[in-house]
Amino acid sequence: MKKALPLIILGMLAVLPLLGLSSYWMHILILVIMWSVIGMAWNLLGGYCGQVSFGHAAFFGVGAYTAGILYNKAHLSAWWGMPLSIVVVTIFALIIGYICLRLRGPFFALGTLAMGVILRVTAENLTAITEGDLGIMLQERTWIEKTWYFYIILALAAVTFIAIKMVVESKFGYYFVAIREDQDAAESLGINTTLYKTIALSISAVFTGLAGAFYMNYMGYIDPKIVFALHDISIVTIMVVMVGGVATYWGPFVGAVIMVFLAEIIRTIPKLGAAHHTFFGILLIVIIIFLPNGITGDIQKLKKILRIGKAT
């Protein structure tokens, strides 16, 4: 039963478009699944390997721009950006990793945060390639309807889930967790910590970049402030995993559902809508205090809290 759970959920999601959902609901579903992919990718590096990145927008943006520039300059379909982004994002991950992975803990977080900002500013100013603040727009999107976009991102999510599960259950997973728990001990147990951190970062970056390339195709428009955004991409990525459950398989999915719906609900509140970051911040504080392992990680504790709530 437990082993079949991913298949059951995948099956249920796969039939959703057949229910004739409105375009708005399809959009929400696509966003949820896209954020699950980014969350799962971040979780491998931040959750399992313990390297908290505040700059995953860098990889999302590079993926998106790979697709965008390919379309804009080479006049190819932006969908080619998805396979190409694997190569391009890996190169960026190796460079960023070379610089940032020698830093530990909060310094690594700050280093990656800086990388995200540097790439945004670069994209804004390198107008010859990126069109700067004008952004890149697809003249026409591949499909008007959302069904195919839904299936493509669902397939990407399934691949991401399986790939990360395989990595986590192999030697790599053990090494990543060993590095998270104690880097010096890991090193003295014969683990090449620099190498394995670079591997974790590269895998994490590639899936984030694929989500970015998909985003370009789906939304049809990107500019540096959207895809390299610190608040709306990097921080939300961390929140998806923190809220859902760090170092759990389902955490990113649960977190993505909550974060996307929360953002949508807050947007509909008159006057307060623009302040969604404030609500995210409050939510993060509540989660860190009461459910430090996230909803999936602290499910027992959550049940307990809710039961007490009912009794009184």
């Binding site: 192999s170 053990y174 090494y175 728990e181 104690d182 001990a185 003295s188 014969g190």
Partner: protein
């Protein structure tokens, strides 16, 4: 033929000399005790051999190959494993997973790694605790876990940094038994220890460090009769 050769090693931290021109050999199959008062440079010596610090001067050879300057993971791959004085278990992993993680050094598959890990856990007497999250282990068992984890890398030489400190008499006897069985397996051991009785009983040779310098070297009997060693431990009346 010596398995490990420490040749004229010095290590400075700024102006402070933690080790000054220390040389000694460790013979294959021996247990070498490294003793000395607090701050004598024993753990620094381990950190130099293990690769956490490069020596400021001098070299370390293992199986006639120079290892000083290599990284800790490379030195571990060559066959030197260590434990830490301040235990460093992988806290949020079970005892078994801790040992599996280090067993992966020599094998590729999860099944083989688990086999080796279980064998090692049995050897160190932790089988009943294999599913315990290591954060919750009492100190005595954490010290054993350190040894199990180091052994799972299948080393030729083991560096034990105060594996007996803080143990009760029963645990102490058990750990001495484990060390002797490790020796019987043919693994060379270098051990830092404050328990004089233990170190005198198990060591083949002893090196005494004091203020970063080698004060004496010899068999346990020679060391026990050496006036310099007694002085270093009890202190001179005038030196204050």
């Amino acid at each position: 033929m010596a398995l490990l050769e420490v040749k004229g090693v010095s290590r400075f931290f700024g102006g402070l000399a933690a080790l000054t021109d220390v040389s000694f050999d460790v013979e294959k199959g021996h247990i070498l005790g490294l003793i000395g008062p607090n701050g004598a440079g024993k753990t620094t010596m381990f950190n130099v051999v293990n690769g956490f610090y490069a020596p400021s001067k001098g070299e370390v050879y293992f199986r006639q190959k120079k290892i000083s300057g290599l990284k800790p993971h490379q030195i571990c791959q060559m066959g030197i494993a260590r434990t830490f004085q301040v235990v460093k278990p992988l806290q949020r992993m079970s005892v078994l997973d801790n040992v599996i993680a280090s067993a992966f050094l020599r094998v590729k598959t999860r099944t083989r790694a688990e086999e080796i890990a279980l064998e090692t856990i049995k050897f160190t007497g932790l089988l009943d605790d294999k599913d315990v999250i290591s954060k919750g282990l009492p100190l005595g068992k954490r010290k054993k876990l350190e040894i199990a984890r180091a052994l799972a890398t299948q080393p030729e030489m083991l560096l034990l940094d105060e594996s007996f400190a803080g143990l009760n008499p029963a645990e102490l006897d058990e750990s001495i038994g484990i060390i002797q069985r490790i020796k019987e397996k043919g693994i060379t051991i270098m051990i830092i220890e404050h328990h004089m009785k233990v170190i005198m009983a198990i060591s083949d040779r002893i090196v005494v460090l004091s203020y970063g310098e080698k004060l004496a070297e010899g068999t346990p009997k020679e060391i026990g009769n050496n006036p310099l060693v007694v002085e270093a431990y009890l202190g001179e009346a005038e030196s204050a």
